[in-house]
């Protein structure tokens, strides 16, 4: 009994409620005529799409920079890489690889500057990260208009300059990962093996990094910065590194998202992309200063599961689509819960 209680305590009530809610959705689904197989397939696909952006939270949480509300900055790096790859005329699988390669220098550069900034504002990272994300999105809105892109698939037809708000990835990297070794079971269920493998690869890289000397130092910086400093760790450098990693993962994350989604969304597209990722990792059991790969997997699955299941089930059940409201309440409620909890480290 005590063990059960401890388990519940370590898992956290909000998480249990959310998990039970999702479970009940899956149980109700067949009763109201929603196909579980296609729902599950959708959930998995969305898991693959969003997983890496959720993973982008991990390095910054580990180094004590808090939740990466500045994810849009990484997404912008990804957008730059993606659009450049198309601009240079790469097609199919190669365009994805090029996008990843072209993204990397931007992500590193942005992450470096962002990390330096966050080092100046220790203690107030999250609010500032939010606004760094917002202002960079707004800044890039101007840039999308001004940058000398010429590819006819991307620029506005009538003016011949300035990028469109949405750009199709068809013919470029649409579904390059989704369709790689794809497993189709029956009519309604497909498993995007390539995308899941890619997610697994990224998760492995993060996991492996956390097992190296530098990764260990990063965890220590997040756990107790004074301890780390007293052990000769350069805290600022470690934090900057973690921010660069988070930014890069965010950039790769959006590329994976686009190849599955089919469109590159520019301008205000990335504006609120951080909040779903933040709430996903929190639902997975992370706190403001502790996060693991398991949190990412569990959280993304739960969050995306709710996102997929609520509209269809609720709609069939009460003929009202309240999924939007449920999503807003659940995700922001989760963030609030995390913010109001006393941080676990006894500092």
């Amino acid at each position: 009994m005590i063990r059960v209680r401890q388990l519940i305590k370590s898992f956290g009530w909000p998480r249990i409620i959310i998990a039970l809610f999702l479970l009940s959705l899956f149980i109700i689904a067949p009763m109201v005529g929603v196909k579980v197989s296609s729902s599950l397939s959708d959930t998995i696909a969305r898991f693959g799409m969003n997983g890496i952006m959720v993973l982008a939270m991990v390095p910054m949480v580990h180094s004590g920079c808090g939740l990466n509300f500045g994810l849009p900055l990484g997404i912008i790096a990804g957008l730059l890489g993606g659009t450049l790859s198309i601009q240079f005329g790469f097609l199919g699988g190669s365009s994805f690889i090029m996008a990843v390669l072209l993204t990397t220098p931007f992500a590193v550069l942005f992450g470096f500057g962002y990390g330096k900034l966050l080092n100046k504002v220790k203690g107030g990272e999250m609010m500032i990260a939010t606004y760094v994300g917002f202002s960079s999105v707004a800044f890039m809105c101007m840039m999308w208009l001004l940058l000398p892109y010429t590819s006819p698939t991307m620029v506005w037809g009538y003016t011949g300059s300035g990028l469109r708000t949405t750009i199709s990835t068809e013919g470029f990297y649409l579904h390059v990962l989704n369709d790689f070794l794809k497993v189709q079971i029956g009519e309604n269920f497909s498993f995007p093996t390539g995308m899941m493998l890619f997610f697994a690869l990224m998760a492995f890289i993060v996991w492996a990094f956390l097992h190296t000397k530098t990764g260990t130092a990063m965890t220590a910086v997040g756990s107790n910065p004074v301890f780390a400093r007293a052990s000769g760790i350069n805290i600022d450098r470690t934090r900057t590194l973690s921010v660069i990693m988070s930014t890069w993962l965010g950039a790769i994350g959006i590329l994976v998202y686009q190849q599955s989604f089919g469109f590159i969304q520019l301008y205000m597209g990335p504006f609120y992309m951080a909040l779903p990722a933040v709430s996903a990792i929190l639902i997975g059991g992370a706190s403001v200063n502790k996060a693991t790969i398991t949190n990412v997997v569990v959280g993304t699955f739960l969050f995306q599961g709710i996102l997929t299941m609520t509209p269809s089930v609720m709609n069939s059940l009460i003929h009202t689509d309240m999924s939007e409201v449920i999503r807003i309440v659940v995700s922001n409620g989760m963030i609030l819960y995390a913010l109001t909890r006393k941080s676990e480290a006894t500092r």
Binding site: K120, L145, G333, L339, T340
Partner: protein
């Protein structure tokens, strides 16, 4: 002995940095106005309109700053309460000033409750009030949608077909406030140099300013300032810290609700699901443009901020069009500047906080060198 020596150059930069944001905006406006091609008369009219429209909302931000809780991103809660009041009076067919007053009366308990809740939560998240209040805004927005989009017309009786969506429940995306439009502004509108001035609205705003000034002089205001400086010292002196903080948020939320009603009577249309979310961000940006910081803001900052921020806002699309040939660019520019100014203000605040801590060390080093020089 505890004054840090600084050269004249250092002092100059310190003063410059302290007023960096207003100076930057002055520069933007100074460049933008000629390029926009707007007449001064037009701009003057716009500025007057916006002062009368927005300053009440911005003044609502002052109280939590006094209590050291930073910028109240949760003012959207008050805006929501104000909107709910407006929806009801529109449904009941109450218009004009009585409608405004009734909407305010209706919004007060809702604002007070939401503010109390917000304050309670912020007390649990001391040290990260701003990001928390920001998320509270989103969270309550979900509940607001639940009530307005699903509850109204279904559970809460709303009968006017002009309000309810064709499906039978939920409020439409836009609500026409025609019976309310400019009802306060038009009570006493005079022409000065060809500019129409809504005197009555300005009087209401002036009264609020008087209230703020008076409030600072009350015991509660004093307690808030004490709590804002150091919670522990205030607590040791017997001040109820948590309660004081909650009260400051409640006052701010109620005022924000009134401000929203004032704002919407000027606009004349309620954008049911958007207005409140935008208003928080723009009020905060305007206040910061006026030279306020996270821990210090006055009435002067409000009016300077409204003027400069909205001048920039009006001017930039046309200036962008005339300069580069793209109005869209100017639109994005002003969005960028709005967010940029909040970012800069937040960064400066944190940096200053850290530098103040480092100051003690520099003093000590200075003492050492002084001693050596004497030797």
């Amino acid at each position: 002995m505890n004054v840090l020596k600084e050269t004249r150059g250092e002092k100059f930069f310190r003063v410059l940095e302290k007023n960096a944001v207003p100076i930057l905006f002055l520069a933007i406006c100074a460049i933008g106005i000629p390029f926009s091609g707007y007449s001064l008369n037009y701009l003057g009219q716009e500025v007057i309109t916006r002062i009368s429209r927005n300053s009440f909302l911005i003044i609502a931000l002052l109280v939590p700053i006094m209590a050291g809780m930073g910028l109240n991103f949760g003012m959207t809660l008050g805006a929501m309460a104000g909107q709910i009041g407006l929806i009801f009076i529109t449904d009941w067919g109450i218009g004009g000033i009585p409608g405004m007053v009734l909407a305010m009366i209706l919004s007060t308990p809702i604002s007070a409750f939401l503010g109390w809740m917000c304050g309670k939560i912020l007390n649990m998240a001391k040290g990260r009030e701003m990001v928390t209040s920001y998320i509270i805004g989103f969270f309550i927005n979900g509940l607001y949608q639940l009530i307005v989009l699903y509850g109204m017309g279904a559970v809460i009786p709303i009968k006017s077909p002009a309000l309810i969506l064709p499906r039978g429940y939920g409020i439409r995306n836009t609500v026409n406030l025609i019976s309310l439009r400019k009802s306060l502004d038009n009570i006493w509108a005079i022409k000065v140099f060809g500019l129409s001035v809504p005197v009555m609205t300005l009087i209401v705003i002036a009264l609020l300013c008087v209230f703020i000034v008076w409030f600072r002089k009350t015991k509660l205001g004093q307690d808030m300032r004490a709590v804002g400086q150091d919670m522990e010292v205030a607590r040791a002196a017997g001040i109820k810290v948590e309660h004081t903080r909650i009260v400051s948020i409640v006052i701010s939320t109620i005022l924000a609700g009134y401000g929203m009603i004032l704002y919407l009577q000027n606009i004349g249309t309620l954008n049911t699901y958007n207005s409140h979310m935008q208003i928080g961000m723009f009020s905060i940006a305007a206040l910061l443009v006026g030279g306020a910081t996270v821990n210090r803001a006055g009435i002067g900052n409000v009016f300077l901020g409204v003027t400069l921020f909205h001048l920039m806002f009006i001017v930039s699309p046309m200036a962008g069009k005339n300069l580069i040939g793209q109005a869209q660019l100017g639109e994005y520019f002003r969005v960028f500047v709005s967010y940029g100014v909040i970012t800069i203000a937040l960064v400066l605040y944190e940096v200053r906080k850290r530098r103040d801590k480092a100051r003690v060390g520099r003093l000590l080093a200075q003492d050492q060198t002084d001693v050596k020089e004497v030797k």
